[in-house]
Amino acid sequence: MTWVAVAGAHEIEEEDVIEVTVGERVLAIYRTREGYFATDGICTHQRAHLAEGLVIGNVIECPKHQGRFDLRDGAPKGPPASVALCTYPVKLSDGRVHVEI
């Protein structure tokens, strides 16, 4: 497991999400009032990029079917989401968001 810098802290607006690619892994990086979070970037229900979805509080809503996940622990919070998202530890260092992968 290594820490990887994925984005500048100010590249993500509050209550928003961006997509980054690390190797072959697609990640969604979120910024909420509670801080920064990272999950897999593709919905577990059907193929959709979560970064095109909507952050509402601590929830990410999938752009395709509006399935919902708690972006802090990946737990499904509303159908058709039913399988949890994989989440990753996040830290801020030198003004950049780092994800442990």
């Binding site: 928003d16 229900h45 059907q46 193929r47 095109e52 979805g53 909507l54 509402i56 809503e61 752009p63 395709k64 079917h65 509006q66 399935g67 919902r68 509303g78 159908p79 058709p80 039913s82």
Partner: protein
């Protein structure tokens, strides 16, 4: 990725028996790109527009319902009831919007409106939400979309019958609810809903059945037909106007294509219809970007209009095209209306409107 070849798949391969999920490859849908900042603005959620719209719906029901009860003579009572029933029939767009959880920012308000509109529409809302997700994934893919309204060749008798929602509401929606309440999910439900949610669906269906039974008990207890009229009879009597605006969403257009601009109609409608229909006349826009709430669809239409076929100027034009196409499909089932994309129109300016 190659779009799904729906007609090539055999029945045995269509569903994963463990999850009930379809095994078709997902179509790789064409989307008209919208600038990210604009999309963030369009996606923005608020409770206010949804509460105003839902409040208008309930308010109109209360007003026309009260007028039905107090009106005299009978012809005036009938007119008031027809107005009540027509508004009541527009529970379907509310159910639809709340499937997507877009009209309200506050989740519990959305779910209250979801269940109330489901009761009025005769649709158990949780099962229908799963089926509707399937419709968005496989819009108008003939072998798998659970919401295709017409067969090929079309059965006009069923279509006319369903103008009052008689077949759909009783056979496709109410009966599965009753069945789910007492005997578990039907086949369609099992196909689309993961097992982990079956128990939740059963209890939701039981709640629906309890509500309908309660309406009958109330009617008997107060010795009045009004509960039966307002909840059950209105569902059918008031359906035609909603059918008029909703039948034209996809019927007659191309099947098995991965571009909503080719299989879906956006139709301009007057403000009253847009109010009742929750702006679902912007149907291409809704399919392409379903996170955009109803109150921002007109602006989204402005964003993608230049990259889309011309919107239909009114419902009559759309109906004319649809009926002609369905009539032709009686003898030529593979026939579809082709909607010209902007690049085709540029190449052949005479092709700005295409009909059968």
């Amino acid at each position: 990725m190659t779009p799904v070849a729906a007609t090539d798949a055999s029945l045995e391969k269509r569903w994963d028996p463990a999850t009930g999920m379809p095994l078709f490859e997902e179509p790789d849908w064409t989307k008209v790109a919208v600038e990210r900042a604009t999309m963030r603005t369009l996606q923005r959620r608020s409770d206010v527009p949804g509460l105003l719209r839902f409040g208008s719906y309930i308010g109109l029901l209360v007003i026309f319902g009260a007028l039905t009860v107090v009106s005299h003579p009978l012809w005036l009572k009938v007119i008031c009831f027809l107005a009540y029933a027509t508004v009541y029939g527009f529970s379907e767009p509310i159910l639809h919007e709340t499937h997507h959880r877009t009209p309200f920012r506050t989740l519990w308000i959305n779910e209250v409106a979801h269940h109330v509109s489901g009761l009025f529409a005769f649709k158990e809302p949780l099962r229908d939400r799963w089926l509707h997700a399937g419709h968005h994934t496989y819009t108008y893919y003939s072998e798998i979309d659970p919401e295709i309204a017409t067969d090929r060749p079309p059965r006009f008798g069923t279509l006319i019958f369903d103008f009052m929602r008689i077949h759909n509401a009783l056979v496709n929606w109410l009966w599965p609810t009753v069945r789910t309440a007492f005997a578990g999910l039907d086949e369609l439900g099992k196909r689309w809903v993961p097992k982990a949610y079956h128990r939740q669906l059963v209890w939701s269906a039981r709640a629906c059945v309890a509500f309908y039974a309660g309406v009958i008990v109330l009617a008997v207890a107060i010795q009045s037909w009004y509960p039966i009229l307002f909840i059950f009879v209105a569902r059918f009597v008031g359906a035609p106007l909603h059918s008029w605006v909703t039948f034209i969403q996809h019927a007659g257009l191309e099947e098995n294509v991965s571009d909503w601009r080719e299989n879906t109609r956006t139709v301009h409608m007057n403000p009253l219809l847009r109010l009742l229909y929750w702006n679902m006349n912007y149907h291409v826009e809704h399919h392409m970007h379903p996170t955009v709430p109803f109150h921002s669809l007109a602006r989204l239409h402005g964003e993608i209009a230049s990259q889309s076929p011309p919107a239909y100027p009114n419902t009559l034009v759309a109906w004319n095209e649809m009926i002609r196409a369905l009539w032709r499909q009686r003898r030529e089932p593979s026939y579809s209306v082709h909607r010209p994309l902007p690049q085709e129109i540029d190449a052949d300016p005479g092709q700005d409107t295409v009909g059968p």
